[in-house]
């Protein structure tokens, strides 16, 4: 029984993945398609063919990790070299199509083009019959259009078409029933002219203002004669510098990276953000650790019976969902009317002055990190072998000396890797920044995107999803890479200290 279930599950999953892979292939999502085909074959070989056990346990995790953790990281790398942003998300062909579609103008015809409706019996498809350019009759819909021979048509006495190829033309009261289908019909005629119904009787001819010449990759405005050519930023531009919208996603090489260095409007805020990212992480680990250590020393005292009570209360910041506690803090920090200002009878522009906003961020981060630091410091102090302390006492070391020469070095050595890991995490403390200050107060020279308390991750988020000048995924990805490098460098340093590598060997 369980065997049947297992087969059903395995083959069902493989089929599902294959179906998805095929759909991705149709939709031209190449990587996803390849990845899904590969996954299906790996699942098949691991669970059906192979006799080896480890793969059976690792495969689900590894596949999902690749798709949702590693692939996005590399995808950032790819997007960082494009100009992917609002107005630059289509492919070039799609963008040029869109330009042509958007620029349609009506074409004057001598007579109004009247149409009549034919319903094909077999497929219930709606066709329009009309007379266009001189004396030819045409039949067609969005899919196709063909010229009709006189012999295929039968006219009534008043010149109206009665039937086409034996199919009766619909009477006007019947036509209304198909109004939804008729409305959506666009008939493509020669030389880019399209016909669309404007009411239940007439068609309007229109034509794009631009013509596209693929061989020279050039758009020409047929009215003004102006020529547009692609620039290196994925957009059509005329000699006089006029841009056509939308643009397309283009590879722009290192420009996202170089522009943050060469463009002063981007460099200044980025440098400020980068500095604060590092300073903030450093300060919070230092303050948090010192605070935690001092508390651990004070409360790790054998003659104090209420130690456990204090410990329980001290870890409360860890137990409140941080998103909510930070939002409560943001309310408490409201200038003048906020609770903090009223308690201390001060009037501090907490969230509107750059320096006070930084102080507020540090206070909140201190609040949320000291419990952890207190816990690891307590652990480290308790782990100091008592013989060492006794030996120091016998040798006549003063309490201060015992602390600075024995306890402190031992504690620091134990917790150093943890501190580095905390530092790496503090680099990406998105919530504490974004929910408290929103990164603000905003710098006046940063196009409204960067602020005094912004760290890289919050700046990236704002560029990508909250941009004042549209969302810029390309630039955001380039900054993510900078963040990857920063986090990676610090973590690697910590890893070497941590010597967890030894554990692997």
């Amino acid at each position: 029984m369980s065997k049947i279930l297992r087969y059903l599950l395995t083959y069902g999953l493989i089929t599902l993945i294959l179906v998805m892979a095929t759909k991705f292939l149709q939709d031209r999502a190449w990587f996803l398609s390849i990845f899904f085909y590969l996954s299906a074959s790996l699942i098949f070989s691991t669970y059906v063919i192979s006799k080896k056990t480890p793969g059976k346990y690792l495969l689900p995790g590894v596949l999902l990790l690749c798709l949702f953790h590693i692939y996005p990281a590399f995808y950032s790398g790819a997007v960082a070299f494009t100009n992917d942003s609002n107005g630059h998300q289509l492919s070039k062909t799609q963008a040029i199509d869109a330009i042509l579609q958007d620029s349609k103008i009506p074409v004057q015809t001598e007579l109004p083009i009247n149409y009549q409706v034919v319903l094909k019996d077999s497929t219930r498809e709606v066709f329009l019959v009309f007379k266009y350019s001189d004396s030819f009759y045409w039949i067609g819909n969005s899919k196709s259009v063909v010229k009709l021979d006189q012999s295929q048509l039968k006219f009534s006495i008043n010149g109206q078409i009665q039937s086409v190829d034996g199919q009766k033309v619909l009477a006007s009261d019947q036509v209304e029933r198909y109004i939804n289908q008729i409305q959506n019909i666009t008939i493509k005629m020669a030389s880019e002219i399209t016909l669309q119904p404007i009411d239940l009787e007439t068609l309007e001819a229109s034509q794009p203002v631009f013509t596209y010449n693929a061989s020279v990759d050039q758009l020409t405005n047929i009215l003004s004669g102006e020529k547009y050519q692609p620039n290196d930023n994925g957009q059509m531009v005329s000699d006089s510098g006029e841009l056509l919208y939308p643009g397309w996603k283009a590879n722009i090489g290192w420009r996202n990276f170089t522009s943050v260095i060469t463009d002063k409007e981007m460099r200044t805020p980025l440098l400020a953000v980068l500095t604060w990212t590092i300073v903030n992480a450093f300060l919070i680990v230092t303050f948090g650790f010192l605070f935690g250590l001092v508390l651990a020393l004070i409360f790790n005292y054998k003659h104090m019976r209420s130690k456990r009570f204090y410990r329980t209360i001290f870890i409360i910041p860890l137990a409140i969902p941080s998103v909510l506690s930070i939002l409560v803090w943001s309310g408490l920090f409201t200038a003048e009317t906020g609770v903090i200002d009223r308690i201390f009878h001060i009037s501090t522009p907490w969230l509107t002055d750059p320096w006070w906003a930084r102080v507020a961020v540090l206070i909140v981060e201190l609040w949320s990190t000291f419990p952890y630091m207190f816990l690891i410091s307590t652990g480290a102090i308790q782990a100091i072998p008592s013989e060492i302390l006794e030996a120091a006492e016998i040798d006549g070391a003063s309490p201060t000396k015992t602390f600075t020469q024995i306890k402190l070095p031992l504690v620091v050595r134990t917790v150093a890797p943890l501190l580095i890991a905390s530092g790496a995490m503090a680099l990406n403390n998105f919530g504490a920044i974004y929910l408290l200050t929103g990164g603000g107060p905003t710098f006046s020279n940063s196009n409204g995107n960067a602020g005094a308390t912004d760290i890289l991750i919050s700046y990236t988020y704002k560029l990508a999803f909250n941009g004042q000048e549209g969302n810029n995924y390309g630039l955001a990805s380039a900054l993510s890479i900078l963040n990857f490098v920063l986090v990676g460098a610090i973590s690697l340093y910590g890893l070497r200290k941590m010597k967890t590598m030894e554990e692997i060997n």
């Binding site: 998103v323 990508a464 990805s477």
Partner: protein, 295 residues
Amino acid sequence: MKIALLLDSKKFKFWMRKVLWRHLVGFVVVAFSVFPLIWMISGAFDVTGQISTQMLIPTHKGLDNFVQLFSNSSKPFLIWTRNSMVVAISASVMQVGIGALAAYTLSRHRFKGRKLTLSTILIVQMFPQLLAATSLFLIINTFGKSFMFLGLGHQLPLILVFGGSALGVNTWMLKSFFDTLPTEIDEAAKIDGADHFQIFRKIIVPLATPIFVVTFLLSFIGILNEYLITSVILGLDGNKMTVAVGLQQFIYGQYGKNWGPFTAGALLATIPVLTLFIFLQKHLVSGLVSGSTKG
């Protein structure tokens, strides 16, 4: 007479000198620790609902904020709670399940590529998913073009994104725990004819239940708390948000405007997590500390 004796006693003098100041420090730190919690509580029961008039003990007490919280149809707290639960529970189950499978084989079997897998996991762990939030957004957008239910604004892709990072979240922690379980039990079972999956299911899983509970809860709390990826993938549409993202909308932009219902909602969301944490303090704290030693 008695009091004088007491005050004069050695014990009391010692207490005054060595212990009293510790309690004073303790009092200040306790005040700091519970500061936002206290104001969250007082805000929730203050019917004026204004941050600017809020007192530690509200002058006008009542449940108006809770009524407002549950009757706001554009900010449906109950739906957010359901969304949060669906996402957090499914994703944590995925994280623990997938992590446990991988941790079991990494702990018990010796095979080619084991070291490589372990170091890869360690390196991946250093780069949290939120660093690539922009890419995740674009990738899920591509998913959605082919399969609606896997697109932006749906819970399934979010669950897969969180659940998919299982190896990068808790596998090391689970492996370290499995390593402490004696291998003699497995060997005995193997002699009795158990295959590898039976050993996992009947021996390892029951023995590791406590650590599963701890990892599940840590994952669960972590996901409830996630703001960036959640807001990016689900969007800021009224019915689709989670509690963490939704409650922010109450006070977004105009501070204090909806302070009352916000604190009421925050309190309701905090109580279960806080209770769990205090009850399972010992286990969760050891999990937090040991989890972090592994990155």
